[in-house]
Amino acid sequence: MSTDLKQSMQSGYEALLFGYAAGNLDEAQSLVVATHLTFSEKARRIVKQCEDMGGALIETQCEPVSMCDSALNNVLSRIENETKCAEHKHACCQKEALGFEIPKPLAETVTGEPIKWKSLFPGMKAYDLPLSCNKSVARFMKADPGHVSPHHSHGGMEITLVLDGAFSDETGLYHRGDLIVTDEDCDHTPKACPKNGCICLVVSSEPIKLTGIASLLNPFLKP
């Protein structure tokens, strides 16, 4: 793989985690990052470093602005009068939806939704996650063992998290928990693991564009 592409993917990855820490991501993007964080201690450390930067900026770059006169008393009286609302999260790592355990952020999103796969093209199925915001699209993509995706590029940023199985492309071999960030410069041909196939969570800002002869299929790829 070219150094440029590797650098660009690494920048895309760190910039995505940075954006998560700074609070700049949309819903689908934050979902795929939160799920990846469950798998990766290294990613959690990067996010934490970025959040330390946010804390440092609040501490030193935010010249205090006086609160309104009643602010402190307001908050104190709410503390007296409101009972602490404990947060209950019940979603477990459900196995039913996909047939294997998935981290909580994702489990909460697919709860109660049976996965109805739709065929994208032979050997590849997809399911669009029901999210309230439709800025980016989040979908599960399921590739049969050994399936080779048509050569394609991306209109915008594409974030791929491997949930089960593995896949490889020109840039490397990716397993469960790995997160790959590609942008419009990355024209690649993913191949699913010959033994187990691959299930990924894919978040894209714009629809995938097939290139070459496969581009005839593009009209069918619209979400």
Binding site: E27, A34, G55, L57, V65, P103
Partner: protein, 198 residues
Amino acid sequence: MAQKHLRDGPIDYSGDDFNTMICAVAENEDKDAFIALFEHFAPRIKSFLMKGGASPELADELAQETMLTIWNKAGSYNPQQAAASTWIFTIARNKRIDAIRKSKRHDIDATDPMILADESSPSPRQSALQTEETKILAQAMETLPEEQAELVKKSFFEDKSHAEIAAETGIPLGTVKSRIRLALERLRGDDKIQDIWQ
């Protein structure tokens, strides 16, 4: 939580030991500690939100909401994992996402049994940044090249996505991302930061 079992009686906090103040709120519902936290952080949170374009009224309201959440969630604060300012930043950030960006944010669940630890990586240090170390980090951020510092501030304060920054400034998106990576690499390479980030 840190040394919970070692303490009898009220927690002793002094100076600007905000980490300990949050623990005092968690363990003893200590109002004096909370008021000290309020007086230090609320005006800064208000300022942080106003930098992103919030009106003074909205920023005041959200800063109050942030402080209320600090009181309610103090029990989930782990001083070994996050500096007070880091933890408080994340709460203020989430208020901004809810109220201003009006977007849903998904978070890792710290109790998720699926959380994987990487055994090959060095064990994390035993305590989070102290206030002094937060200032060291801030100083190092001051020394970032202007082009990197600018991007960091636009992201944190103005809540701009990288694509929005690219569109606004005319800097190619790939360059925006590589500058952010370079900023992080530079901070990690700083001797003093290496000690505190490990």
